[in-house]
Symmetry: C2
Subunit: 352 residues, 2 copies
């Protein structure tokens, strides 16, 4: 490899792809050339990355020739088919899809938490976790290092963009239909009637919350609820970590939030926990309710860190903390984490 590796971004024209190009353009450049790849439908468009205009090429096996690192920001089915192709052509794949996350031969990496696990990678693939896990795991990882994590109980407040562009469009459509109708929200079904089609969501999202995200799994669990458990266990290296999650969609465009109840091996202290978080890379503590300081999606959207506030020691358990975390699901929740993994891989190839 050359000292400055060649990067391919697969899915460059999507929502997360757009965020990724923006992030690559604002971080220290570690790449030589950047190749932008998308479906044949989007090929031929020109996008700007790191100050240069780059023409988007269609996804074929040949696009990976000479590529050192290939970032995949595409749907699961595309990643399942094409990530192995890229790896076979010699690229290190950084994949944001759900396909390879639980593969024992694929490391699942959040650089602030387990960056050292970026290798070995027997399949040539490194995965990042889902946007919901990423909305909290940097905070949880920092507390785990200090106190030793035993159990998580989480409830999510998930943004519409977790369901892609269709989710964002549906929320805006719905808000347009309910805005100014001050009589709504008082009778059963009035919002449902006003909203009409609920888009990719199983119930109206405007003036509502929807306790469902993902597919139906055994025991009434949603795939997202089980995923945050599996991903947290793998990233933290705690195969028996107790995790119970309830996933709820809220009428927010972008930025996922979670209410977290975390139980540790050792006794916790509110001030100490706040100091640990304030000093952790990738975390911003915003925790002064007297001054109305706590993270909200509207304030953290578009930013890189994981934001945390409402840090409290549980009143009945000296080993438990309750907190509220917020993170941009398109940035740290997908594109930024991929960019950070890419930098780890680039540094290692530069070293090697």
């Amino acid at each position: 490899m050359s000292s400055k590796p060649t990067l391919a971004v697969v899915g460059a024209t999507g929502v997360v792809g757009g965020a990724l190009l923006g992030i690559l353009s604002t971080r220290k450049s570690v790449y030589g050339r950047i190749r932008l790849v998308a479906s044949p439908r989007s090929a031929g468009r020109t996008l700007t990355v790191c100050g240069e205009s780059v023409e988007v090429v269609a996804l074929t096996p040949d696009v990976f020739d000479g590529v050192d690192i290939a970032m995949f920001v595409v749907p699961d089915a595309v990643a399942a088919e094409w990530a192995p192709v890229a790896a076979a052509r010699g690229a290190v794949v950084v994949d944001t899809s759900a396909v390879f996350r639980m593969d024992p031969d694929v490391p699942l990496v959040v650089p602030e938490v387990n960056g050292e696990q970026v290798r070995p990678r027997p399949r040539g693939i490194v995965a990042g976790p889902g946007c919901l896990t990423l909305a909290m795991i940097v905070v949880i990882g920092a507390l785990h290092r200090t106190y030793g994590l035993r159990e998580l109980v989480v409830a999510s407040y998930e943004a519409a963009s977790g369901a892609g562009r269709a989710g964002v469009d549906a929320l805006h459509d719905q808000l347009e239909r309910v805005g100014g109708r001050r009589e709504l929200g008082t009778l059963p079904g009035d919002v449902r009637a006003a909203v009409g089609e609920s888009g990719p969501f199983p119930a109206p999202l405007a003036l509502n919350v929807v306790p469902w995200a993902g597919t139906v799994e055994d025991g009434g669990w949603s795939s997202q609820e089980l995923r945050i458990r599996e991903e947290s266990r793998k990233i933290l290296g705690l195969p028996r970590l107790k995790v119970a999650a309830t996933c709820v969609r809220v009428p927010v465009v972008t930025a996922h939030s979670l209410a977290v109840h975390a139980v540790f091996d050792r006794a916790v202290d509110q001030r100490e926990a706040q100091a640990v978080l304030a000093g952790s890379p990738g975390v911003v503590l915003l925790d002064d309710p007297d001054r109305h300081e706590f993270p909200t999606p509207a304030d953290v959207v578009g930013t890189d860190p994981t934001w945390v506030g409402r840090v409290r020691r549980s009143p009945d358990d000296p080993k438990a903390l309750d907190l509220f975390v917020c993170g941009d699901n398109l940035r740290k929740g997908a594109a930024l984490n991929a960019a950070q993994i890419g930098e780890l891989v680039a540094a290692e190839t530069a070293d090697g």
Copy 2:
């Protein structure tokens, strides 16, 4: 007392008062006369209750003469001053405020859970819990009777009307300002700028969630978070129940929701727990994710029961259940519970 007691409704012209008059009009009549009481500002207005037009009278000590049951649906300060006056004049006070809830001489009653505690009442006052506790306690009480409750971890999704008319108005104002502005929700502060004043909330509520409700207490807890703990303990008769709550406001007009993680003394079973809930008075089970069946605020607003769905046994603890509950915070959350307590008291005076 006569066999049909005389009722006074104090706060008849407020939001909860309006809900209460509607509820009284649709339930089996247990009262002889109904007197409507409000601040001098609202006196003279005529309201309809149980099919009759009744003139609202100003709150003075004399209005309680001859009154058997006085329901208070007023702010804390008014209840603190006037409930003892009504009790001193011989009325049994049913109070929805927070003032007397934790008084050891005042029973805290949810009829489906602990209706037998409506007496003794040494101060002549019976209290109902807050709307957040009421959004879940009928469900929790039913499960406690079956499995023995040990611990609750809850995260709330609280409606704007929990902050009164000002909260509802602020939410509608904000929705009017963001509706149709499809560019919003992508940059930090863009929603804050579009919304302007956030009304009674400490941050914008449209296109956002706000992890705060109540006043600031020791350890960074909000008064609401501590209240749901104290109230649950008293109602269930479990003074050492472990409770950790995180309260979050969401852009919903009316109906509070909670994600609940409940740990019991005995092992639980998903199907059995669903059957227990389906057979419990005041509870409706709506739990079939495959058919998109789960409670949402938009569907339950304006109804009386506590709705529950997403009933799951925790993957790592055979003694724990995770659920999602929804209830109308103005009806069961305040007015309906008061009406039900009033019926218990009326039945006892009819017997006596």
